[in-house]
């Protein structure tokens, strides 16, 4: 089915296969239709509809003052968005790829994250920064970074990562509506993942900050998010053959972090593996493992383990499969959860 055909179906309202990219586009559209202060800006978001076509049709429907092709300068884009938000608009910025958000780092850290706090609440910045992120799509250098560690370490930012089509729509709508800045990390390799989805009556999803158990289980908990959710679900299916009944928790946001759901799961299962694509060292897994251990120490049969991208610059496309945490690597980690201690 061509992209155009799927889109047409999406617009009819019946639950039909839709991709995550389409659900994201629809979220932008619905937010813009509902709230005239929502503005989309970025490189190639207008006429082209974005390199991933997420913003396709927005400039046509809302005009290029609402969906604007900017000059090519990420700090300028985010900096301009700050000023727009100061004046009461609700900018949604697209960074073309993860690594191309780095030029905007100073604006993000020193202004976007801090403005509410430094003005004692007088001037919050309702900015959503959409970042297509992560690997697995055969992208060359600088097109596959996982940068969530930088953002989660920055107080003042929300960090949201959808893993399903429904969440892509629901979390993006909520992020745009939020009066706080959100770094919205879109897993590139799930852009073309599909689900039956009804654009005119999209399923309500849990709010940002709530983790969701995607698969209940009793043997151990896989804690994950974004691009690694499908890997974990597949691993959990495969694990049944070994007699493991794995629970899979989808964090959905790193900030806020849902300690309750995660800790409740690990207390139940007594074992946990954190799975993410970002490098391990200094990555989200350390924080998650530490938090879980602080809260569940006496329930743990084994240390919380981590399966993550290696501590290397993202490799060339032909090597990326060795780097990305896959089903086998997850299962190997589960096997190291000291099961013999049980008997």
């Amino acid at each position: 089915m061509s992209t155009a055909a799927v889109t047409a179906d999406v617009r009819t309202g019946r639950a039909k296969p839709a991709t995550m990219a389409q659900a994201l586009g629809r979220a932008l559209r619905d937010s813009m239709a509902e709230d005239p202060t929502v503005h989309v800006l970025g490189e190639d978001v207008g006429t082209l509809g974005g390199v991933f076509r997420v913003t396709d049709g927005l400039a046509k429907e809302f005009g290029d003052a609402r969906c604007t092709d900017t000059p090519l300068a990420e700090a300028g884009i985010l900096g301009a968005a700050v000023g727009m938000a100061m004046y009461g608009l609700r900018p949604v910025v697209e960074m073309q790829f993860d690594a191309f958000a780095y030029p905007a780092f100073e604006q993000l850290i020193s202004h976007v994250a801090k403005m509410r706090n430094r003005t004692a609440g007088a001037m919050p910045l309702p900015i959503t920064v959409r970042v297509p992120y992560g690997g697995g799509i055969g992208g060359v250098e600088h097109h596959s970074d996982s940068s969530e560690a930088y953002y989660m370490a920055t107080p003042g930012l929300h960090v949201v990562m959808p893993a399903t089509v429904e969440d892509a729509y629901g979390l993006l709508r909520e992020s745009i509506a939020s009066d706080d800045p959100v770094v919205f990390l879109e897993p590139k390799r799930l852009y073309w993942s599909k689900a039956d989805w009804s654009p005119d009556a999209p399923a309500a999803v849990e709010p940002i900050g709530r983790a969701v158990v995607r698969r209940p289980g009793r043997s151990a908990t896989l804690i994950t998010y974004g691009p690694s959710l499908p890997v974990c679900l597949e691993a959990a299916e495969a694990a049944t053959a070994e007699g493991w009944d794995l629970e899979v928790v989808d964090l959905r946001s790193l900030v806020p972090f849902d300690d309750e759901t995660v800790a409740a799961s690990v207390r139940r299962t007594g074992r946990a593996v954190v799975v993410h694509e970002s490098s391990g060292f200094g990555g989200p897994g350390g924080e998650i493992a530490a938090r879980v251990t602080e809260r569940c120490f006496h329930h743990l049969e084994a240390p919380v383990l981590r399966v993550a991208g290696f501590d290397i610059p993202y490799p060339p496309p032909m090597q990326e499969r060795h780097h990305l945490p896959g089903v086998d690597r997850v299962l190997d980690a589960v096997a190291r959860l000291q099961w013999e201690a049980e008997s």
Partner: protein, 387 residues
């Protein structure tokens, strides 16, 4: 297309590059070779005496404000103060050319511009006293937070002005930056966005000769900073930054231009920082007295005073009245700054997000517990003197 697919040589007509059309005419964008001046020139004849007197009163007040703030650092009442002594004409003109609905984007040195715009001096100084990052509501005063990371406020001004224009509001943004700040990428990106969007922004560069210790010649090789404008397709203006009348005129014109939809202007004010970078700096390490003295002969307050006196618009009485008003302002400021600010440590957690996250609630409880242990649980607010 491979070579093979090229049209035959017969059919081929060489032409100039099809896309070539200059986007704008460069000539009107270039600054005049000499900084624009009014005081001491014929142009002063046409200047409005009332405006000149107003500027004079503000300059004197501004000078006094700078002196008082510097004194407060010595008394330990300000953590640090980057003085704008010598640059008052720029600061005052920037404040005065704006309408109430317009926005000012000051750098960390520009508390005086904010005060001249009407901001309470204490509120303007909380950042430098060290009790609050921003002591005022930016939206109430239409003054962005004093900006420390250099040049980063410039794209904000562009975005705000653009947003106002999109909304159909008649609002101009004036953004201030130093000569050093023009070297930052954010300066470039902001000016480019402004020109492409025709945003109603005025960029005011106070070229005070130094970025801390680094002189202009190590900062740029350009004929002037105003010459950068042509590279963005906006006009560049060069002004004597110590000539308050010239500053007021050039900035007014730039504001009017922005307001009428013609887009942004880059104004370079040639001025001088008479004091050290901040009270913590030692300017003798990088510049000699003779340079400072040369500029003292071109002092903005004196320049205007002389003009007014020469024209018989100012007498000793008026000077006295103006100075007295400045003294009263200084006395009030001194007094207000002598009080310790009352701070609530629990505020640390109040404005990070709209709603506190779980870990912030935990951390707030931890601090609450520590404060209770320290002060006893009866101290409800935990509020305490800041020092």
């Amino acid at each position: 297309m491979t070579v093979q697919e090229l049209p035959g040589a017969a059919a081929y007509r060489p032409t100039p590059p099809p896309a070539w059309k200059p986007l704008t005419d460069p000539a009107p964008l270039l600054p005049d070779p000499e900084p624009f001046r009014v005081l001491g020139t014929d142009a002063a004849d046409g200047a409005d005496p009332e405006l000149l007197l107003r500027l004079y009163a503000e300059l004197v007040r501004g000078r006094r404000y700078n002196a008082q703030a510097t004194a407060l650092t010595k008394q330990g009442r300000l953590a640090v103060y980057p003085s704008s002594t010598g640059q008052e004409a720029c600061e005052i003109a920037a404040a005065l050319v704006l309408e109430d609905r317009d926005w000012l984007f000051p750098s960390y040195r520009d508390t005086l511009a904010a005060v001249a715009r009407g901001l309470d001096p204490v509120e303007a100084l909380t950042l430098l006293r060290g009790d609050r990052h921003t002591g005022y509501d930016p939206r109430e005063h239409r003054i962005a937070p004093l900006c420390t990371p250099l040049a980063t406020q410039l794209p904000h001004a562009v975005g705000l002005a653009h947003a106002a224009r999109l909304k159909g509001d008649d609002v101009v943004a004036l953004a201030m930056v130093g000569d050093g700040g023009t070297s930052e990428g954010d300066f470039h990106e902001a000016l480019n966005f402004a020109a492409v969007w025709r945003a109603p922004v005025v960029f005011l560069v106070q070229n005070n000769g130094f970025a801390i210790s680094v002189p202009l010649a190590k900062q740029t090789a350009a004929p002037s900073l105003a010459h950068k404008a042509v590279g963005y397709g906006m006009p560049g203006r060069l002004v004597d930054g110590n000539d308050a009348a010239a500053m007021h005129q050039v900035l007014s014109e730039a504001v009017a231009r922005a307001r009428s939809g013609e887009g942004p202007t880059l104004v370079e004010a040639v001025t001088y920082r008479m004091e050290a970078h901040t009270n913590a700096d030692d300017a003798t390490r990088y510049r000699g007295d003779s340079e400072v003295e040369a500029w003292r002969a071109h002092d903005p307050v004196r320049l205007l005073e002389r003009e007014l006196t020469g024209r018989g618009l100012l007498d000793e009485d008026t000077i006295g009245t103006v100075r007295e008003a400045a003294e009263r302002m200084a006395a009030t400021l001194r007094e207000q700054m002598n009080a310790d600010p009352v701070l609530d440590p629990m505020d640390l957690f109040s404005h990070v997000y709209e709603e506190q996250t779980g870990q912030l609630r935990e951390q707030a409880a931890l601090l609450r517990g520590e404060l209770d242990a320290e002060h006893g649980p009866h101290d409800e607010s935990g509020a305490e003197g800041g020092r």
